[in-house]
């Protein structure tokens, strides 16, 4: 009976925690349940939400992608460069004098610039995946190197300067509110739907679970693992690039420094959502709740005007606590 109660708790516990957190937030700050704050909360959460979808894919195969924060920054500056017609003149720093350059001279017409940036993001993810799969190096270490490389690339590209000016269509992605719903949230929702479709309703997605759960069992069932190990990292890189584009819209500039440390929020959200770091367990539903929980904690800490630094400490503790709870649970299950 106790086991049943526990499994119920692990099935629905997350949702209960979310509800409790909402209640606490409302009690702590009267500002919480205002339309402005809720809109702000949901659009803030959306950025992490989109990254977390990619991270869910990666964690499902037992990997981790630390490079997403850097890819956000790289995509942002890459997009900015595309807007200023200088993409092919990658030159030493002095030549780049972008300050005040708000006249847009896009190299590619509208949908293609976005597609191009997304493809580059996907390519970076692909590199993560291939190196980690081919050389059997855990993706956390490959993506750690990638994180440093991509950030260095992004920052040195414009000597750390932001590139101002983005087209209205991109600003709309960040600030638009069709039907009163913030655009980032809509993008997040669409991505979630696609992700659920892939993970839950295609054989491809189910095979990702199989490979993450037990590579050998998957192989015996006639699945070739390497494709399913590389694909999630591509998704993660691609979605990070998407976040980078929307962030450019939000800030009105391409900023190479944006996204620093965001990978940890994404990891935290996925882990809180119940995914196992050893792979094979987790899903978009859990991740959405994880993102909302992380977002709520951020939002409330901001409303209570807690400094950024204790906030960071809290995140470290939340990650460890979520993992510790998982560890204790799985230890108990395996003892049965």
């Amino acid at each position: 009976m106790k086991g049943k109660a526990l499994s119920l708790l692990s099935d629905y516990g997350l949702f209960v925690i979310l509800v409790i957190l909402v209640a606490i937030s409302a009690l702590l700050s009267p500002l919480f349940f205002t339309a402005a704050n809720l809109k702000n909360f949901i659009s803030q959460a959306s950025y992490n939400g989109i990254l977390s979808v990619g991270m869910t894919f990666v964690i499902l195969i037992g990997g981790i992608d630390l490079s997403v924060g850097s890819i956000v920054g790289f995509a942002s500056i890459l997009y900015g460069t595309l807007m200023h017609g200088n993409f092919f003149t990658f030159m030493p720093n002095e030549i780049f004098i972008y300050k005040g350059a708000t006249v847009l001279t896009p190299i590619l017409p509208l949908p293609f610039d976005i597609i191009f940036v997304l493809l580059i993001g996907g390519l970076l993810g692909f590199l993560n995946g291939v190196i980690s799969s081919r050389f059997h190096i855990h993706s956390f270490i490959v993506s750690l190197c990638m994180m440093i490389f991509v950030r260095g690339l992004a920052v040195s590209y414009t000597n750390g300067q932001p590139l101002f000016g983005v087209p209205d269509s991109i600003s709309y992605l960040a600030y638009g509110e069709p039907l009163g719903i913030p655009m980032p949230a809509i993008v997040w929702l669409i991505i979630c739907i696609i992700a659920v479709w892939i993970l839950k309703y295609t054989r491809f997605g189910r095979r990702i679970y199989a490979v993450g759960g037990d590579e050998e069992a998957a192989r015996l069932s006639g699945i070739q693992p390497s494709l399913y190990q590389i694909f999630p990292l591509i998704v993660s890189g691609l979605l990070a690039a998407a976040v980078g584009i929307i962030m450019s819209g939000r800030m009105g500039c391409g900023d190479p420094k944006i996204g620093e440390g965001w990978q940890t929020d994404a990891i935290a959200a996925v882990v809180i959502g119940g995914a196992s770091l050893s792979g094979g367990k987790g899903g978009i539903g859990g991740t959405i709740i994880g993102v909302l929980i992380m977002g709520l904690i951020n939002n409330v800490m901001n409303l209570l005007e807690i400094d950024a630094y204790p906030q960071q400490m809290a995140k470290g503790i939340i990650i460890i606590a979520a993992l510790a709870i998982q560890g204790v649970f799985s230890a108990r299950n395996s003892n049965d």
Binding site: T202, R206, A217, L220, N333
Partner: protein
């Protein structure tokens, strides 16, 4: 009896692994509507054969014919597509997915739009589970089911593949009696549908109950293939055992005449493979444990030395109860284990002979403050010489030694430590014949030194040549303990397959 059509033919299959000829020119003919039992002792080559049929291993030579067509299996997927389904002994399952997912892993039913059709998947899963009358909800997470229910799911899976050939590798090991009856009923109905079934079991009575034909392998060679009705139990046992010359048992002079037990195990329980084990070993005695793979021998050894936590039971040394919670405790009391998996559990493969030999006894090789390499070197040279380990010197990396020499290094780790109880788990597996005898002689020497020895082996001639008493394990229980004088090959085989002596 009407002539049945042969659906699967394997002719002249050869397969070698480094150092071992696993299959030597083996033939196998599977007819439609036949339950074909595959029997043999451990290491006879049964598993290798089915791995080849299932596409996991590639054969070195020989040919496979399916419905008179030559086939060339590439991988497990290919075998599945051709209609050969294997139920593996080690269940390849995904604990975090539902029962239905596991049933249809990689081949989930799809709706018109190419999406996984969950409703149909659950319905189909329910259908297959109903066919084998398993009361399991297809939506349950597999990891939450008992082991026997998980096995039923795997059985349902191998049937659901609707293959022509279904290979069941010891499906009965974890099933309850009721579930086993159901399994037999399922096999009967599959037979009626004209499928070919390869059934591997370590239980004699099962072979007689459901088998039509039995093929016996021994040491990778085909011993024979006979219709079951032409055989009785004694015949089958004879086929399994063969007529090898027994190595002579050298009477052990060193056993304590009163047989006062030095080492006792009382009512030891651990999981489902160590059930209420009692045994006593006196000083200078070699107590043999015989059992098939999966009978719980290794689990018993691990439980004794505290490598796995026991559920209940006592270990008694010199009439005093000792509390062993870890291998370190066991070593402290003078009990050690030479594990079955030499490379994975016995040796640090990347390290030198000297480093391996001295690992457990570093404390005695310390100077005042630091390790004394002079001592270590002398110590390991001494035991290298004593055990006749053949290597250029004690600095050689053990990875490059032969199996026999590697095993001697593992022995050397413990022999120098002045321990009292030695547990050997398959100490001669995968070693050439000469080295085997050397290892056995080393163990006899230990007995002469008044050590108590537990010797686990699945080779009957070996255990008969060395053990003073033999305990036989079957499905986690010690079902008989025989004195050397009473023990025969036939008895060991019969007991280990869960029967009584013929």
């Amino acid at each position: 009896m009407t002539e049945q059509r042969v659906i699967l033919e394997a002719r002249g299959i050869n397969k070698s692994f480094p150092g071992v000829k696993a299959l030597d020119n083996v033939d196998l003919f599977i007819k439609a509507g036949e339950v074909h039992c595959l029997a043999g002792e451990n290491g006879a080559g049964k598993s290798t054969l089915i791995e080849i049929l299932g596409g996991t291993y590639q054969m070195d030579s020989g040919e496979l014919l399916l419905n008179n067509q030559i086939i060339n299996l590439q991988n497990p997927k290919h075998a599945q597509e051709l209609g050969i389904a294997v139920l593996h002994q080690e269940l390849p399952i995904l604990r975090d997915l539902t029962v239905a997912e596991n049933l249809f892993l990689g081949r989930q039913p799809r709706s018109r739009f190419g999406l996984v059709d969950y409703r149909k998947m659950y319905k189909d899963a329910k259908k297959w589970l109903d066919i084998i009358s398993a009361d399991i909800n297809p939506r349950t997470i597999l990891g939450r089911l008992s082991v026997s229910k998980q096995q039923l799911v795997s059985i349902a899976k191998s049937i659901s593949l609707e293959a022509q050939i279904i290979i069941l590798d010891e499906p009965s090991a974890v099933l309850t009696d009721v579930e086993l009856k159901r399994l037999f009923a399922i096999i009967a109905s599959l037979k009626a549908e004209g499928k070919g079934i390869i059934y591997i079991s370590h239980r004699l009575e099962e072979i007689f109950e459901i088998g039509d034909q039995v093929t016996v392998l021994r040491n990778g060679k085909l011993v024979g293939s006979e219709p079951i009705q032409n055989l009785n139990r004694a015949d089958l046992v004879k086929m399994l055992v063969g007529h090898e010359v027994l190595e002579s048992y050298i009477a052990n002079q060193s056993i304590d005449k009163n047989r006062t037990p030095v080492f006792e195990v009382n009512g030891l329980n651990h999981g489902h493979l160590v059930r209420n084990i009692n045994l006593k070993v006196s000083s200078g005695e070699i107590f043999g444990i015989y059992g098939l793979v999966g009978s719980g021998r290794t689990e018993l050894a691990r439980a004794i030395i505290g490598a796995d936590r026991i559920n209940s039971g006592q270990i008694i040394l010199d009439k005093k109860k000792v509390c062993i919670k870890s291998p370190a405790d066991a070593i402290g009391y003078g009990i050690c284990l030479v594990p079955e998996d030499r490379k994975g559990q016995g040796l640090l493969l990347e390290k030198s002979i000297s480093e391996n030999i001295s690992l457990p006894s570093l404390k005695s090789l310390k100077g005042k403050l630091l390790l004394n390499y002079g001592k270590i070197s002398k110590y390991s040279d001494e035991y290298m010489k004593k055990l006749r380990i053949i290597a250029s010197d004690s600095g050689q990396t053990v990875k490059y030694l032969s199996g026999g020499n590697q095993q001697k290094v593992v022995l050397a780790k413990w022999i120098g430590m002045n321990l009292r109880v030695f547990i050997f788990d398959e100490p001669t597996r995968g070693i050439d014949v000469g080295a085997k005898e050397e290892i056995r002689n080393l163990i006899r020497d230990l007995a002469r030194d008044k050590k108590s020895i537990i010797f686990i082996s699945s080779e009957i001639p070996e255990i008969l040549s060395i053990a003073d008493r033999i305990g036989i394990m079957h499905e986690g229980r010690m079902i008989a303990i025989l004195d050397r004088s009473d023990a025969t090959k036939e008895k060991l085989v019969a007991y280990s397959m869960g029967g009584i002596a013929v």
